[in-house]
Symmetry: C2
Subunit: 168 residues, 2 copies
């Protein structure tokens, strides 16, 4: 089995090899973080300047846009990979501002259903369009032909991370 030779278990690897792999892994992490930080910072700035909105609020709307009949509130933290407590004030403000509704389930009084309003959907579509344009501007210098290849590699990385997190 070829893999066993290419990536032997840590315990049987010599120190130099392992150090080199550590460095390669750290480099990958730093690049990943740098790219994400750059894109995130610019998108945040634009959301604030153009729409006086934040990305976490947009992310909630983006999830609800795909669910015409609404979502169980508890589904949001899972999909957005944030803590439940984090969403409480964000959802609260989106309700206050009329973008979404929050209605208690009649079957289970612990559960609430969140659903986008008509105005919310309208506002989301406007912002989503700009979001796409901003992203295209940011990625303009990255060859379109390489987008899918990089995305595929990141998909693979995401799978590897999911597996590793599962174990721990």
């Amino acid at each position: 089995m070829a893999l066993a030779k290419e990536t032997p278990p840590v315990s049987t690897r010599n120190g130099a090899d392992q150090e080199a792999e550590y460095r390669a892994q750290t480099r990958l992490w730093l690049r990943l973080l740098a790219c994400t930080t750059m894109i995130e910072g610019e998108l945040r700035r634009r959301f604030r300047e153009e729409f006086d909105f934040t990305m976490p609020r947009f992310d909630v709307l983006a999830q609800l846009d795909r669910e015409p009949s609404g979502l169980v509130l508890g589904e949001l933290p899972k999909r957005l990979m944030v803590s439940a407590g984090n969403l409480t004030p964000i959802v609260e403000r989106l309700v206050e501002d009329g973008y979404i509704t929050r209605t208690p389930s009649s079957l289970d009084r612990r559960v609430q259903i969140v659903c986008m309003t008509v105005e919310g959907r309208k506002a989301f579509r406007r912002m989503a369009k700009s979001h796409g344009t901003w992203l295209a501007e940011l990625l303009a210098d990255f060859p379109a032909g390489r987008l899918d290849g990089l995305t595929g590699e990141l998909d693979h990385l995401k799978g590897a991370l999911r597996d590793a997190l599962q174990k721990s």
Copy 2:
């Protein structure tokens, strides 16, 4: 010039092509964000559990570790890609806790020099070692042979982002 055909200017592209590229760009961004969020969340959790420390604090120490003679305070926000105001309380606490020193420059009284203490350096090395191990665990299922390829693509992406941000 082949590139001109592969990626024509936005204005001359038909709607379907552009939509497809938008989607590919959005997919890339979502994967990037997902990978970063997963790694960052796990590293944060471990820093807190094992060392009662945070990543921003570690990041400051990591910068200072490379500069035996210390760094001008204003250099930190640039290198860490965060705002200056953000660093004030973080640096303050690192000084209080004895990890670093902050001394006003005698030449320019606006400027301060931050420098790691002996104990700070010792603590940093211990944490950096664990940091490397955690990352290796997280990336264990990602083939070592593909690390550099992905890092290279991300390097290219980073360059493209830097250029795009320059313009705006």
